[in-house]
Symmetry: C2
Subunit: 170 residues, 2 copies
Amino acid sequence: MSRAAQLAAVPVDREARASEAHHDALRLWLRLLTCTMLIEGEIRARLRERFAITLPRFDLMAQLERNPQGLRMSDLSRRLMVTGGNVTGLTDQLVAEGLVERQPVPTDRRAFTVRLTRAGKRAFDRMAAEHEAWIVELLGGLSESERDRLHALLGRLKTSVRTNARTKEA
Amino acid sequence: MSRAAQLAAVPVDREARASEAHHDALRLWLRLLTCTMLIEGEIRARLRERFAITLPRFDLMAQLERNPQGLRMSDLSRRLMVTGGNVTGLTDQLVAEGLVERQPVPTDRRAFTVRLTRAGKRAFDRMAAEHEAWIVELLGGLSESERDRLHALLGRLKTSVRTNARTKEA
């Protein structure tokens, strides 16, 4: 290549590299999003088929199962990353079905927490066992070592996002 | 350890191992979900702040930008993994704002495709450039080698999910 051609090539090359780096991060994010949506779509379909339950209901019950002392509605909204209105509607349905109950907060007359009833816990445990088996099945193509490495790299990713995010939530 | 203790320990131990393997896959899935929700939440907040646009609108425009020949509503729904009603509502709004247009399909009198208008393409390109820079920033804590490894492992995960999924979508 002549000097002139080399000089002319430099800025183009740098641009190409920069745009390639951008492209890499974007490709990585789109693949991450695809994986999540594929798994979520499959879980959603199986929950509906097997238990006639929607994913938001299952997620709400999962949060309550992890917090047996109960959660305030605002905590529940934040953890589920959905708006308060949706959580209220879902909770009302689950209360009507006897799977969830509201409890007054002794120190705050206007507040209450929600938690699973015994029937709700039983129903959730049954679903959670199958749900876990589905995840094991869907991820079954990865070796233990691959799962470990993926878990570690996603840990690095989580730290990177939390460090660079502006919003409190992240 | 006595024979009796060893025998008694075997089933417990096997169960513990099995449940640990299950637990690993579940932990991996929950971490994957967390990463996706953190990035999505941050992108959602920035799109709203910077361009006063919702994520579903941005995603719809992104699909149309990738398919400049236009998409039928059913294709658009499938690609966005949302229901037809939502896509119709979003499309109506974008048509009203002059960012998207409907085109009749010459070979099928009842069908039409939607595509970006020139104004829509210009508006999307401006947002997409910033969106890409945000992703680069959020993923900036990972080295190029980490990004490459993560991309490869997520490729393995995608294959595993597609292989083991029952639904057509996955």
